[in-house]
């Protein structure tokens, strides 16, 4: 099922949680809504589910305008961060709930509901736990049951709100892989919310980066990581270094020296240079480079992070070097970013 969000705005007590958001989701896609808290990602998910109504704008399921449909009519599977399992029901009853509450004409028989529940338990690899209560399950198991429950109603779209947020790191990684497998096996259009970039980049076909009620960038993991389109995405996804620069005559300048980066399309004036600390080349001689003195250096896993003072110590910037690299010991280092972007001051 395709989902199309068109110019949606949502206000809570006059405060805009989402400002004019548009998003096309293809059928069968696994999409991550990624952003810091308060970016509006959960609000967007709840709007798609029908748990909230948009202040303005439209949400389409396929060609059908779903904006005024109730959550029951939309037939979506929703998985909550804190599971929201019915604690007085067994696992099997939880999974069968969506079928049990159907109007009698569409309700499967009890035996059929039971069969369906154990089928789904097989799918989420929890066979044999039908008679358990949620309190008797671990966090990871509970979330699997919650997913099975959401899938029992044969939803048109699967929506997951920080599905692994309450789990510890080990279980998270395990469930992440498992969710990908389930998605590939069942082909549900799936949208999940997360503030964990690793999760989003690893799991999703496309990542929607959000900030302050707006979509900053939509793209594959490679696209948002390698070519961020805004200072926010640079700062939010992965490591990034930034330096205040000047653009003049299509060249990027630091203080009074050009650094050998051409920016022909940018207007003259104050700007900020962004690059990844690992995406740099070291230079032996400096005719057009960024040069600095080593202020600090620390070992991070397989690499060494070096903090450089640029321009007489007014600015500091981090670059990444191989552990044994001689430049790490030198007091003066010259480098040039390989992949970078300059954003004019106004844009921030």
């Amino acid at each position: 099922m395709e989902v199309r969000v068109s110019n949606v705005r949502k206000e809570f007590d006059r405060f805009p949680a989402l400002r004019d958001v548009s998003l096309d989701i293809r059928s069968g896609e696994l999409i991550a809504l990624l952003g810091p808290s308060g970016s509006g990602k959960t609000t967007l998910l709840r709007l798609i589910a029908g748990l909230e109504r948009p202040t303005r704008g439209t949400i389409f399921f396929g060609d059908e305008d779903a904006s005024n449909r109730t959550i029951q009519e939309r037939n979506v599977g929703f998985v909550f961060q804190h599971y929201a399992l019915f604690r007085h029901m067994t696992v099997a009853d939880n999974i069968g709930f969506g079928l049990k509450v159907r109007p009698s004409a569409k309700r499967p028989t009890k035996a059929e509901i039971r069969r369906r529940a154990s089928e789904l338990l097989d799918l989420v690899q929890l066979s044999g736990l039908e008679k358990r209560y949620p309190a008797q399950l671990s966090g990871g198991q509970r979330q699997r049951v919650a997913l099975a429950r959401a899938m029992a109603i044969e939803p048109r779209v699967l929506l997951l709100d920080e599905p692994f947020g309450a789990l510890d790191a080990q279980v998270r990684r395990e469930l992440r892989r498992w969710l990908r497998e389930i998605h590939d096996a069942t082909g549900h259009t799936t949208i999940f919310v997360t503030h964990d970039q690793e999760e989003a980049l690893e799991l999703a076909d496309r990542v929607v980066v959000m900030s302050q009620g707006r979509i900053e960038q939509i793209g594959t993991a490679d696209e948002v990581y390698d070519t961020p389109n805004s200072p926010f995405v640079y700062g939010f996804i992965g490591e990034s270094s930034s330096l205040p620069v000047k653009v003049e005559d299509g060249q990027v300048w630091i203080s009074d020296r050009p650094i050998g980066l051409a920016a022909p399309d940018l207007p003259d004036g104050e700007a900020t240079l962004y690059f990844r600390p690992h995406d740099i080349e070291l230079l032996d001689e400096c005719n057009g480079c960024i040069a600095g003195t080593v202020a600090a250096s620390r070992r991070v896993a397989g690499t060494r992070r070096v903090e450089l003072e640029i321009g007489g110590g007014r600015e500091r910037v981090e670059i990444e070097l191989p552990v044994g690299h001689p430049a790490a010991q030198k007091s003066r280092v010259a480098f040039r970013p390989k992949r970078w972007k300059v954003f004019p001051k106004m844009a921030e």
Binding site: L51, L85, F86, V101
Partner: protein
Amino acid sequence: MADPELYPADAHHEHASLAVTERPLARAGLMFVAFAFLAVFLLLPLVVVFEQAFSRGIGAFVEAINEHDTIAAIKLTLLVAVISVPLNLVFGVAAAWAIAKFEFKGKAFLTTLIDLPFSVSPVISGLVYVLLFGASSLLGPWLKMHGIVILFAVPGIVLATVFVTFPFVARELIPLMQEQGTGDEEAALSLGANGWQTFWHVTLPNIKWGLLYGVLLCNARAMGEFGAVSVVSGHIRGMTNTMPLHVEILYNEYNAVGAFAVASVLAGLALVTLVLKTLLELRYGAEIAATRGH
């Protein structure tokens, strides 16, 4: 006697536990104070009630109970409880639901309003109804014209009882429902359940123990309420006297056995409620812990 070799280890252990808990002596002292207080102020009076009631033997007790006005008082008390407890059950669930699960203007005001019956003296609650429905009130003449009798009759007693016992169910449920949040309900709705199914299959099971406590407390108070009911009842023997009022009348007439006999029945009803609650707690203890804590 203590093994001398173990003594140092023991001392050490006790020393370590000092940081987190009281000395055994202090603990015993606290428990003694609690039990002694309960015994003197609660248990002893209760024993006296029953002792007095049966002081002239079973025969006198039965005779005192099996009297027209007393039977009428018992019936009236039960009737009032049967009407006002279900009303407060519905009101309480509705109010708790509104306060715990919705955001709206005037929520703080509504919360304060629910506490009003606890903060206002019951006598004043009764007087309010007299001022509202009495002969010299605004509504009085209109009521009289239409032949509606509220004061000094069953409707007035029920109204006063509902007023006084309103907070019990709501107060029990509000913190519980606030803590549980709306996640379960949203999950049920997303699975296609309608509002009623959601309430019946999800919300009600989640709150049933809190609801039961609230109802039991509400019932105990509904049967025992004196002040507010006293003002609106008019004390007509055999007609508008509830059990607490009847006890007072009998006592004022120096009919000690009668007064204590009725009092013992009233206390007995309260005890039955308490025993019921304890039994349920014993029977479903694990489930209560699961649904409340979680």
